[in-house]
Amino acid sequence: MLEYDSAKSPPPAIDEFVQLFRYRDLVFLMTGNILKNRYKRSMLGIFWMLLNPLLQTIVLTIAFGTMFKSSLSHYAVYLLSGLLVWNFITQTTQYAMGTMAYGGGLLKKIYIPRATYIVAAVGNGVINFLVSVVSLIVIIFFIDHPFSTAWFFIPVSILILAVFTFGLALLLSTASVFFTDTVDIYQVLIQALFFLTPIMYPPSILSPELSQFLAWNPFLILIEIFRTPVYANHLPDASLIVNAISLALITLLAGWIAFTNKADQLAYRL
């Protein structure tokens, strides 16, 4: 028989995990529903997901392609492979924060694992990411960029990215419940970071003073873990892989502990 004792539950970091597993069907349903709701009402349906990165790439390639013609061949592939990672991380975290801060009313009404929304947001983000990889492949074929066996590394890259994004989403959602302007501050920060991260341009154009800071930009590590096998057609360096995995795991751990320990306060605060 089920028992609940408010005073004697396991540590929140473990308890939340157990509960999420118990409510796994809810997590799957919510992930599916986000997708359904987003695309049901538009005629083009799933094609929007394909079209969006394609259009973005075309516009930016027209605008900046000639600028980097000598340093970056096949600019569209370079651009899109970086852009996809960037979009995945920022859109997923923003969506997760939004659902927690504004749509988390359900948590006040009934018990469900508090991380449900965030797992669903990341699940939805990963699916969108996979679909946009299809548009990346389309572009690669179109401009005749070489494919290599390094593509076998892509699933690992996506897993690392998903782990990092989940951790970051947990951290940001926790903050956004306590400080409502987290959403706005984050918005400004990522806008600045977008231009400070070599996504649209090669790292080589930065001045030596600026490029020494690049090693401290976690987003560059995450972009490179995906962009290297796609654009440069070789596996990322071992040191890069280690850095990316450590970054992802530390973020996940920090996010999970912060979120689960503050989760009980959500019902008071939302």
């Binding site: 089920l2 408010s6 809810l26 501050i185 009980d264 019902a267 008071y268």
Partner: protein, 247 residues
């Protein structure tokens, strides 16, 4: 054998009400620069509440608005975990606090049965097995595959009730929703609750209607300002409560 199903021991739930605006980083920064601390009032929604309920009992909870009734139910429904005191529950709790919690109005009745079922903690397979029974009880057979934004509010409430009460729970929490749907459905839902009660479910009712408490409950608890003012046999408490309210 110990038949205690619900036990609360010195439960205190404290809400912090800030005197000023919603907290933002900006506000904190400004305040920090001005060397002012943030001021709060602590408000005890529940104050040292202790009681226990045995299996099969029907207990009514009464009290004025803001007395802590909803908070008490939320503590029992696991929505709020008290920072002080202890809540102990045995068995599956079906909270009829929010019928159709998590309903998505763009989705069909069928999809929402699975969604709401999952919110209530049932597996997909479990719901699939009971789908027909739920639909039949709610009486929405023809509208199963229409988005529920096209439903009348009564239909939505009926569907919510049908999902939440499809399986007999060990504890049933009812918050003023005895009046779901039309007269026929009200009879049907009351009959179902009564049937569960006869089969051993423990029932907790919050209502402002003294008659429904008297009819349904054997025991009553009177909450005032977050504490139990009085508890005992339903007639005694209700007499006291009504003479108090009149004066």
């Amino acid at each position: 054998m110990d038949t205690t199903v619900i036990q609360l021991h010195n439960v205190t739930v404290r809400f912090r009400i800030p005197h000023e605006k919603i907290p933002t980083f900006q506000e904190y920064a400004i305040r920090w620069l001005k060397r002012r601390s943030v001021s709060y009032t602590d408000f005890n929604a529940l104050n040292n509440v202790s009681f226990s309920i045995q299996q099969g009992e029907t207990v009514g909870i009464i009290g004025a608005n803001g007395a802590g009734k909803s908070t008490l139910l939320k503590v029992i429904a696991r929505v709020i975990r008290p920072k002080q005191g202890r809540v102990f529950l045995k068995g599956r709790v079906a909270p009829l606090l929010e019928l159709g919690a998590g309903f998505d109005y763009e989705m069909t009745g069928r999809e929402n049965i699975f969604l709401n079922g999952a919110v209530l903690g049932f597996s997909r397979r479990d719901i699939a097995n009971r789908l027909e029974r739920i639909v039949e009880f709610a009486g929405i057979e023809e509208f199963m595959d229409a988005p529920i934004r096209t439903y009348s509010s009564g239909m939505v409430a009926r569907l919510g009730f049908a999902i939440a009460t499809d399986v007999q729970p060990d504890v049933l929490i009812i918050d003023e929703i005895l009046s779901v749907g039309d007269t026929d459905f009200q009879k049907k839902s009351a009959a179902r609750i009564l049937h569960y009660h006869e089969n051993g479910s423990t029932i907790l009712v919050v209502s402002h209607n003294p008659d429904s408490i008297r009819n349904l409950c054997s025991r009553a608890m009177w909450l005032a300002q977050g504490s139990i003012k009085m508890a005992g046999p339903v007639d005694v408490i209700m007499d006291q409560y009504s003479s108090y309210s009149k004066s």
